[in-house]
Symmetry: C2
């Protein structure tokens, strides 16, 4: 049943795993070129890339589009039960956060967004698209959709900040009930482009639907995390 075939792909994976574990290839460092590696392991690039793909699936290495393969840094711990935001969470774990705004505008809500925010047909929503980094590495692509009724003039503020803080300081709005939905999936074209990785890379999609202190639906986020950058932790009390 188990045959432990000494497949070429398996052998390459083992060799690279071992080098990484023992710190010969340290977190964030770049692997040699694919052609170099395929020569080193006496195989073809196709076979070598299959091995790299498996290590990527495991979350041990990752790639940046056209730049090569790198050793994955440790995962960020994400606790949905703790009210926090990206910058605080990353900082608390001793890492460097960064945010860039890709676009921010009012647009017609798609049917899916209308459903999430319980808006009537043909509503407008404020969409904010952002990309976020940890220690310089792009790890998260987010689309925020805000109910414009609650956030007049929000597009005039600095949107690289935490929205949580902005809501509190400018609108006296705080998060109340929140619903999280997490689905392992792959990056679509837009998310892949924003994170500078190839379409179809594995990802964890986290959808958040947020209510405020009065129980009103105020906004929702659709987050795409690189699958190797995150670790979700939930502590359930008695």
């Amino acid at each position: 049943m188990r045959d432990e075939a000494p497949r070429a792909v398996t052998a390459i994976c083992r060799a690279l795993e071992e080098q990484i574990e023992h710190g010969l290839l340290s977190s964030g460092s770049k692997l040699p070129a694919e052609r170099k590696l395929s020569e080193l392991f006496a195989t073809t690039r196709i076979t070598l890339r299959e091995a790299l793909g498996q290590l990527e699936a495991q979350g041990l290495i990752y790639r940046e589009e056209r730049r090569g393969w790198f050793v994955s840094p440790p995962r960020l711990t994400y606790n949905p039960l703790v009210r926090s935001h990206f910058h605080a969470m990353v900082g608390e774990q001793g890492r460097q956060p960064a945010t860039e705004v890709l676009s921010a505008r009012l647009l017609p809500a798609s049917a899916a967004i209308c459903a999430l925010l319980e808006l009537p047909a043909l509503s407008s929503v404020i969409q904010i698209r952002r990309a976020r980094r940890i220690d310089g590495r792009l790890v998260l692509y987010v689309e925020h959709y805000l109910n414009p009724a609650h956030f007049p003039g929000v597009l005039t503020f600095d949107l690289t900040r935490s929205l949580t803080e902005l809501y509190a300081q400018q609108y006296d709005i705080f998060y109340g009930r929140v619903r999280f939905d997490m689905v392992p999936t792959a990056l679509h074209v837009e998310a892949a482009a924003a994170l500078k990785v190839s379409v179809g890379s594995p990802a964890l999609r986290i959808t958040r639907i947020n209510r405020d202190q009065h129980g009103r639906l105020i906004d929702c986020d659709i987050e795409y995390w690189r699958h190797d950058a995150i670790h979700v932790s939930v502590e359930v009390p008695e």
Copy 2:
């Protein structure tokens, strides 16, 4: 920047997605042979398999080792905050659960298990390995590790049942605090063999560390879910 290249792989993905969405290929049905498909799309098997791999990453299709490709059924909703167990959860969602025991025995605890259960060095633990199905499809491989001090004679019972119920009925032990850790990763050799899929298939690993009503660490589970079979949902109260 965006170039929307009409790549062969992308075109194949689009075509198959469209057929699946419109129900021409229904949930659970088998795709034609790879050679047939590569002929149909006028390309090589390598290229075709790249496209299938992307659809697999998205969770739209899955494969069974050496049996072919199938359209993925809907995901099971998994809510860590709701105390339930596999059979109840699956049944409530209108699906057919099934469990098989792969092995059950007392063995020396690995260092990792000692740490999770806070056992002294060189302890023994009870290991139960099981595979679980939804509507006939293998979706979950689990390793349970029980502190033997709390469960004398547990190996003599029927272990295809829910352990939650067994603990309650035979030992008056109920779950108290529970800690969940969820990590997107790939299936290792044992898990892949149990689920009859290829090593390195994407998966969601959920580690549960369970305490009883007295706050004692009683057991832990290491679950490997097929990544396209699950959808984690968490509702956070105010």
